[in-house]
Structure formats: C-alpha cells, structure tokens
Amino acid sequence: MPKRAILALAVTTVALVLLLSFKTPDDGVPIRGGGTVAADAGATPGATARPRATVRPGAAAVPGATPTPAATSGTGGDTGAATTVDGPVVDTRYGPVQVEISIAAGRIEDIVALQLPTGRRSGQISHVAEPILHQEALAAQNASIDIVSGATYTSDAYAQSLQAALDQAGLR
C-alpha cells in the first residue's frame, strides 16, 4: 500500500512547468498573464492593491485576478475556476520577490512568480502534489529509510522520532 501511495503521488503530480522568462527590463518584470510589475518593493501587480493572504482551503482569495492557470491537466476532478492569492512581497538583496498561488477546489494548483528582480536565474518554481496529509503515511520499513530529516529541535522530540527507532535498530 505505501508503494501505491507513492505511485499515486507521482502519477497525480501536477506537472506544472513554470518556465520563467527574464527579459528583465529595468522598469519592470514580465508577469505571467501579461503586463509588468514595477520593480520596487511596494508595488503590487495591476492598478488595485491586493490583500495579503495566507493560503488555506477556504481562505478568502481574490477571485479572477489573473487568468486561470494554463496547466490544469492531470488533476482530474478539478473543474472549478481557479482563484489566486498573492503572497507577501519578500525583499531580497536583488529586489522584491512575490509569488501568486492559484487555488482550485480548495487546493493549490499553481505557484507563479509575480515579481522577480533582475539578475535572477530562471527556474521552475514548483511542482505541486496531491494532498499528502490525509494519505497513508509511508511506512519506513517498506521505504528502506536510512535517515530521517525533520525539525526535531530537542532531545525529547528525538526520543519519539523515527530516527530514534532507526538508531536503536542499528545499535542492536
């Protein structure tokens, strides 16, 4: 079953290839869906300011602000129109970075860079998988794990971790 879960994860992965093109003129950055963003930190795409929002299913999203993501194939049941939510503008040493998250049927469909300063390398932003929290968690023994990475900040947390179990098995 864990194997199937992984396979399902792979098969249903939304292969969103977000190749970002960088003409990067000094006065703005190309945005997906047309238009440019002025490359100063306070600017938001378009004439109207959009609220900052966290990304949760059912969160108040800004509907219809940009076209429906071009790539929605492979997700089967998602027929509803996508809504988009803009992340906060993050200032980096090269300038502001901002992403836009497209949500359809309460799920993240796409992550698009709205603002990228000049001098950035082009790259694919994201692959978005099926929901994983409600899936059957992978059984470590079936997946032949050697090591576990996690935010295990304390020795108490370690004691309850899979890594501790693996260490015990290794020391036995």
Partner: protein, 262 residues
C-alpha cells in the same frame, strides 16, 4: 561504539541541545576519530550555546565581550550570519530572529559544527557515513556500493512516519518546521510565525548553509520556494515543502532526489 557486521560503526549522543547520531560504513576509521567528532560538537556547544551562561556567545550577548574581542571562530560565524541575512533579505537573521532581539547564531552554528565534524571523518579516510543532528543531516558517499542514502522526510503530524523519501549522496539535508515547538521560527522582519508552510526540507552541499536557507525559506513561507528556485545564490539547493493545507510542493531541483517507488 557498537559494532555489528551490518552497521560497523554507529553512535548516538546528546549534544547541542539535541541528539546526534552517526552511522559509518566501510572504509572504517580509527574509533578515536568518532570521539573527536563528538568532542568537536561538545566544544562548539560550550563556546556558542546561548543556553550556557559561560559560553563566549552568552558573554557577547551580555556585553561582557565585544565582537572585536571575540575569538576568530565567533567573528567568522557572525560574519557568515550577516552574509546570510543579506542573501535572504533578512529572512535568516541571527541578530534579529529572537523576540527579545538578542543575538542568536544557533541557526547557523549547529550545521556548521556538524559540517566541520564531518571533515574529521573525511580526513581520516571515511567515505560512506551520515551524521544526523536533530533532523539536519550530512550524508556522504553511499549506504552500500551503488545505493545512495535514503532520507525520509518526517510526516508533519506523525513523528514515526515519513511523507517522502530522498536518495542522496554527498549532500546535506535540513528541515525547518512547526510541528514541534510551534513558535520556534519567527520571521525576523515581522516577528510572526509564518503561514503557508508546515515544514520545508532543503538539499544542498554544506549543512551550515543548507540549514540556514531552510530556516529562511520557512520564514518566508511559500514565497521562500520562489526565492530559492530563482536566486543565483541558491542555485545548488532544492526544496520540498509541506503546505498548511497539506500538500507537497517542491522545486525543480528536488526532482532528482525524490524517490518515487516504495
């Protein structure tokens, strides 16, 4: 040290406020080298811990020591932390991440200490091993000839389960998240725990930077993935994140590490 044919050299020890485990496969090294590894971690902890009143960093925080007077190691760490603050636009900031505004380079020190400890093994001829310090990992070589190390990413809700598997060789892996100590990471710029991500796991080359960048991406939330995927400084890093709404999201660079079969 416990030796079995399958796992010739393994150790587990509490240090730096967490638990550090180590697994060395052949070629083995003199057992004393592993003593040196943990001695090094204890030494760094004694000098850099913010929990030890007598550490150099604690004296720095209390103003009993100026940065100019500090040891070369401490000045090096602070300089690199300042560099990281610049690169990450303040999302990783050792001088501002604590609510009380006190200096805290711990987010860099642990990875740096483990990385240096790993060099001791390299220098002694060890080629195939991992060190895991509270979920932050240096993994060198292979588990066995032809098989990379398999690193599970912890499931955010279940401490004894993993949610994805990475195959890595000669890489560092670090995870930041909120499923334990919910307020552990705050965005230094806003002072709030970020929305958007439950955890983020980075794969990179050195653990010190990989760990610091994981902290930064987590502090940025979803935007951090866009930053990591496009900043020239992070070209060799890949990220796998679990969002608040329970989805796996990863950068293009992570594709090569993700294990798809069970």
């Amino acid at each position: 040290m416990i030796s079995t044919p399958e796992h010739p050299m393994r150790r587990v020890e509490s240090v730096m406020g967490t638990t550090v485990s180590l697994d060395l496969r052949e070629p083995l090294v003199e057992p004393g080298i592993l003593d040196d590894v943990f001695d090094h971690l204890h030494d760094i902890d004694a000098r850099f811990s913010t929990y030890r009143p007598d550490s150099e960093v604690s004296r720095l925080i209390r103003g009993e020591l100026s940065e100019e007077e500090a040891s070369l190691d401490v000045r090096y760490v602070l300089a690199v932390c300042d560099h990281l603050a610049m690169v990450t636009g303040g999302a990783f900031d050792a001088r501002r991440h604590r609510p009380d505004g006190r200096l805290d380079p711990s987010g860099f020190v642990k990875g740096w200490a483990v990385e240096e400890a790993a060099w001791l093994i390299d220098g002694a001829g060890g080629r195939n091993y991992w060190i895991n310090a509270g979920g932050d990992i240096v993994a060198r070589g292979e588990a066995e000839p032809g098989r990379p190390w398999r690193v599970g990413i912890r499931h955010p809700d279940q401490a004894d389960k993993v949610t994805a598997v990475l195959a890595v060789s000669d890489r560092a892996v670090a995870t930041s998240g909120t499923y334990e100590r919910g307020e552990h990471i705050t965005d230094p710029r806003s002072g709030v725990t970020p929305a958007g991500l439950r955890s983020v796991t980075l794969v990179g080359h050195g653990l010190a930077f990989t760990d610091a960048y994981a902290t930064a991406v987590f502090a940025m939330g979803l935007d951090g993935l866009g930053w990591l995927a496009t900043d020239p400084a992070t070209a060799e890093y890949a990220a796998y994140a679990i969002t608040d709404d329970g989805r796996g999201v990863w950068t293009d660079g992570m594709e090569r590490y993700l294990v798809r079969e069970g």
